[in-house]
Symmetry: C2
């Protein structure tokens, strides 16, 4: 059955962020759709941001493209020097290697829902606003030392 049955897929607010950086995504509730659907070419996550939540810390990937499709509610797309309001049907692309840190914020009073596509990160991921770096399969301080 190709149609995605969301209710049958686990929803979680887990994060791998170090404890001191985790609060921002505590109300980010997501479902990974790729594995239960048998997909492996790219990852797909269905994400609900509760009011006040962020999709992630502002970041950019060296080696992985990302693409977002808004499904409901309102999100603020924050990037270098710009903030853009996104609504249902809006889309945004984040090509790999573009050092434009980005994330989505739900600053509304209602849930916001989007789907995000990308491959699992094998290259480094940079977080311009905080002392965080994804490198070698782990979160590190910007100087490369472990958390």
């Amino acid at each position: 059955m190709p149609r995605i049955e969301l209710e049958s897929i686990e929803q979680t607010n887990r994060t791998g962020y170090p404890a001191g950086h985790a609060a921002i995504v505590k109300q980010r509730w997501y479902r990974r759709l790729g594995p239960p659907s048998g997909l492996s070419d790219f990852g797909v996550s269905h994400v609900v941001l509760k009011p006040g939540a962020a999709s992630s810390h502002r970041h950019w990937h060296e080696d992985e493209d990302e693409f977002v499709v808004m499904l409901a509610g309102e999100a603020v797309l924050v990037e270098d020097g710009a903030r853009t309001l996104l609504h249902c049907g809006d889309m945004a692309a984040f090509p790999k290697g573009d050092p434009n840190g980005h994330h989505l914020l739900n600053q509304s009073g209602d849930d916001c829902v989007f789907v995000v596509f990308g491959r699992p990160p094998t290259g480094d991921c940079h977080y311009p606003d905080i002392d965080l770096l994804w490198s070698g399969g782990a979160y590190r301080h910007k100087d490369g030392s472990s958390y």
Copy 2:
């Protein structure tokens, strides 16, 4: 600017189908979003099906996953032995190698809009209902001969 500006991207109803099989997608109007956005990990197309149009002939890919996100209107997802109505926010996954021919039909009186993700086909693509095969980078008769 990560937000996709649809109006700035060419919309086309081109098809590579041989002439005798092209009518079904004449009112499929699509925009390829990946190249103008600088994405290369996967392809993304924004598709408008006018009333009566199909997304493609029913098909399945040997080597490429596909994923559809409905944005507006109503589409009938046709697969082996099943028809499922899709609406805004519905999603469907088509894992590579699953020999379940599928397509979307707009049998409503209004436009239907969706986004579809996948990699450019390098493997064969099979069309169970008609004398068509994608193989070796070209459309062929099922016996492998050229159109």
